[in-house]
């Protein structure tokens, strides 16, 4: 039946390759680091940086996304394909964020003190 054959053809188109970029160093120094938005996920999903680091999110999807702090500390405009958003983390802590359009997309930025202290307080709930 024609329908059944069509289904098969569609299934074949779904085998498109996904190549997630090799996870960049999860520990970055001040000077900037990227988080990629691809296939409805943030990569790396958990990022550890030193205080003062600027993080840039770049949307590689064909669908718009946002980057919104769960604690309302920061929120991007709607990012269409290839749009970017940057935020500089100045205070040590753990910052959770999500896409306000597709809230199952979540990520975390852990900001450590310049001295490298690992006692970063959880700031995700702070406004």
């Amino acid at each position: 039946m024609k329908r059944a054959r069509s289904c098969g053809a569609f299934a074949a188109t779904l085998t498109m390759a996904i190549v997630l970029s090799a996870a960049p160093s999860l520990f970055a120094h001040a000077g900037g680091i990227e988080v990629k938005i691809d296939n409805f996920s943030f990569t790396p999903q958990r990022l550890t940086v030193k205080a003062g680091t600027t993080v840039t999110w770049i949307n590689g999807d064909d669908i718009p996304h946002t980057v919104a702090s769960s604690g309302k500390l920061f929120k991007s405009k709607t990012l269409d394909t290839d749009d970017a958003y940057t935020f500089t983390f100045t205070t040590p802590g753990m910052y959770e964020y999500f896409c306000s359009l597709h809230p199952h997309m979540t990520g975390t930025v852990v900001v450590e003190a310049e001295t490298g202290s690992r006692d970063a307080p959880d700031r995700s709930g702070e406004p």
């Binding site: 329908r3 188109t13 779904l14 296939n39 394909t81 597709h102 809230p103 199952h104």
Partner: protein, 315 residues
């Protein structure tokens, strides 16, 4: 398409094979026949019109995404125009149309303008609910300004037609991290109040953008507090839930509730779990129109089902 809907008495869902079959003819819009309360698909629009010429008929279109211009469909204006053109050829003019959201792609004024210019060519009253793409302008005001007159909260409302109570809900506003679609306390309280004095024999049609059942939570295809809305609806003998968002036809019957999602007029999305993400599905050009469409619904007083027909653009 009689095999497509399940007998509520048996309480069965639709098999995966059936869902896949449906997907191939899903796409244009769904023509719904409400027959005594419970909706059901009747096949392609043309077949239905021959079999069921009378009753209240309304249309559902969804996910126009005007402004989208990526390879999955660089001409969403053209496919929306085709869908409206199909509607204009229906032998029986529907009473009205429902649009289950994502009218625009980026909530830009020009996108809403283009959608309005095309959809108005059907010369039908249109009852809208927003998709998440309709609430992303900086001040989140354009949807309300254009479509929100007479609505409550972020845009919910109800109305009656031919003895059927229609409820338009918003589950794309104020979404929370890690969650799915959400109705929220204020809207649930309004819904309880809206239903309070209504007879259980009144057929109910609920429409919202994101599915009101846990269709595929891993992709966010569900509404986290939909169970509370369905609890309020379970005493009614006939409830039909119409959604969009997932750009493909899915249907299930649970007790007295029939759930149905419509196709997009813009681009298809993959079946749950069959791709790395729910992003736009790129298909060969000649296949695209088999995956886009509209839905018709017909209601006939005294019968127990609404007839739901999904009509592909190339059908």
């Amino acid at each position: 398409m009689s095999e497509f809907y399940s007998d509520p008495d048996r309480g069965t869902g639709v098999s995966r094979r059936k869902i896949l079959e449906c997907m191939t003819w899903a796409g244009t819009g769904v023509l719904w026949t409400i027959a005594g309360g419970v909706p059901h698909t009747m096949g392609i629009i043309g077949e239905t019109m021959a079999a069921e010429p009378s009753g209240l008929t309304f249309l559902q279109i969804s996910d126009s995404h005007v402004g989208f211009d990526k390879p999955a469909n660089p001409n969403v204006i053209g496919t929306l125009e085709e869908a409206i053109g199909k509607i204009n050829t229906l032998p029986v003019k529907p009473s009205f149309m429902i649009h289950t959201g994502d009218i625009s792609h980026l909530s830009k004024p020009a996108e809403f303008d283009d959608a309005e210019r095309i959809i108005s060519q059907a010369r039908l009253d249109v009852h809208y609910v927003p998709g998440e793409h309709d609430l992303i302008d900086e001040e989140v005001k354009l949807y309300r300004e254009r479509y929100g007159r007479g609505t409550k909260g972020t845009g919910w409302y109800s109305f009656d037609a031919a003895g059927v109570h229609f409820i338009g809900l918003v589950n794309v506003a104020n979404l929370k991290a890690g969650g799915q679609g959400s109705l929220g306390e204020e809207q649930l309280a309004w819904l309880a109040d809206d239903l309070q004095d209504r007879s259980t024999s009144a057929p109910i049609v609920v429409f919202a953008h994101i599915p009101l059942w846990a269709l595929y939570p891993a992709w966010g295809w569900g509404t986290e507090d939909s169970g509370r809305a369905l609890d309020l609806l379970k005493r009614f003998g006939s409830v039909t839930v119409l959604n969009g968002h997932i750009h493909q036809v899915m249907q299930k019957v649970e007790g007295n509730v029939t759930f149905h999602t419509a196709c997009s007029t813009a681009f298809p999305q993959p079946a749950p779990g069959t791709a790395p993400s729910p992003g736009p599905m790129k298909v060969p050009g000649e296949k695209l129109r088999a995956l886009l469409g509209v839905t018709d619904v017909t209601f006939k007083t005294g019968q127990q089902r609404l007839a739901i027909i999904d009509r592909p653009l190339n059908g």
